[in-house]
Every structure is written in structure tokens, then in C-alpha cells.
Amino acid sequence: MALWERIALIGFTLISKKDDLRRLIVISGLSSEMAWDQISRLRADAVAPLECAIFPIGSMIFSREYVGYLARQTVKSLVEAKMIQTEKLKVVEERVTQGLIEELSLEDRINEEVRVILDAYQDDMRRSGASYMEMFKKVKNELARKYKAVL
């Protein structure tokens, strides 16, 4: 498999600082360690120095800042409705933010685990002609059942 095809199996955005948006390479797949491993190989193959950065694609549906806002507003409405009271509002907001982040990032963690599993079987899948997307869905559903996750 060509290096670029291998890269396509990994879950990060690779962007050359000198490139414009049209030349962004967006790739889907695995861990940051594996992405950096591939990037190191790319750099080794490159004729000219390759400056790049990686950004995880599989981020939560909402940004962390927005989840913090959700938590603050929810706590605020509960306080205003006189359902809870606290003298340490910041602590309560922070705990709720962490709880929501944990829940909202659950799907990402499952996706990551699916990618790791499928990566281990990628040669078998290629030989048997199995569809990556179909296998992804099946394994994801299995893991969601296993963890009793609400997606």
C-alpha cells in the first residue's frame, strides 16, 4: 500500500503551513501516536522539509467551550428555579461541565476503539474485500451495546 493510502486510514487532519485550504489533507482513523508515526515517515520520504500539524477530527459534536456554557446555563437555571443551592458555584459548574464532556465524548472514545480494532484486521479485511464503513458500523454497535452507551 502506498504511504498516502496508509495515511488515509488514520484519523487526523494533516496541514502543511504553506498550503492553502484546497490542499488540506483530511484523514480519518487512529491515535495521535500512529498519526505522528506516519507523519515521520512522510517527512523521511519528503524531498523538501515538511512542516505540518495534526488536529483530531473525531472531536465532540459541541466544542468544550460550548459544553462549559451548557453546564453553566443549566446550573444557573436550576439555582434560579430554587431546585439546588450552592456557595461554590464555580466548583459545581466545573463538575457538571466535566460530566457532560465525559458523556458527550463517549462516542469519540468508542470510534477510537473501533478504529484500533479494525486497524488490527485491515489486512484481512482488504483480502476478503470487506467494507471498512460496514465493519465500522457493526463493531461500533457492538461496543455501544457492550458499554451500554447512549449514542
Binding site: Y69, I84, G99
Partner: protein
């Protein structure tokens, strides 16, 4: 909303459970009532969030050139415009 009803209910449970486990928080109502109130608050906020999503998508669709949804360029612009809209909330 961009999440399912089940997920919204789950988030409300998370809020109620987290508050129950937090020593610095006192309940003035029972946990179920608090969960229901949290659900209402989250639902309203997430309905508003859809406006942010719609505004970001609208900005992309009004670009001079056609940018296909799901393309790399679309994703990058979406994130940028979404964050711009979030900043307008003062977050």
C-alpha cells in the same frame, strides 16, 4: 437538536447524578424533579445551538464558490464559522 432524545435524557441524568455526587451542592427538590428541570434547560439551550449550526452552514453556502458539504474545506470553514457564532454568545 443535533442529538437524539435519548442522548438528551442521558445528559439530564448526568447533570442530576453529578450534582448529587457534588458535596458543594445542596438539593432543594428531589433528584427526579431536578433531572426534569435540567432536561428542560438543556433542551432549550440545544435548540438555540441549532441556530449556531444553521448560521455557520448558511455562511458557507453564501460563499462565491460552491463548497460541497462533507469536503475538507467545508469542515474547516464550518468549524471556523461555528466558533465565530459561539463567540457571539460571549463564551
Amino acid at each position: 437538536m443535533r442529538i437524539t432524545r435519548d442522548k438528551l435524557n442521558k445528559l439530564a441524568h448526568v447533570v442530576a447524578d453529578t450534582l448529587a455526587e457534588t458535596d458543594e451542592c445542596d438539593f432543594l427538590e428531589d433528584r427526579n424533579t431536578i433531572r426534569q428541570e435540567a432536561r428542560k434547560a438543556l433542551e432549550k439551550l440545544l435548540m438555540d445551538e441549532m441556530k449556531i449550526d444553521t448560521a455557520a452552514k448558511l455562511k458557507i453556502s453564501t460563499q462565491r464558490k460552491i463548497i460541497i458539504e462533507g469536503s475538507q474545506e467545508w469542515d474547516i470553514l464550518y468549524r471556523k464559522y461555528y466558533n465565530d457564532e459561539v463567540k457571539k454568545l460571549g463564551i
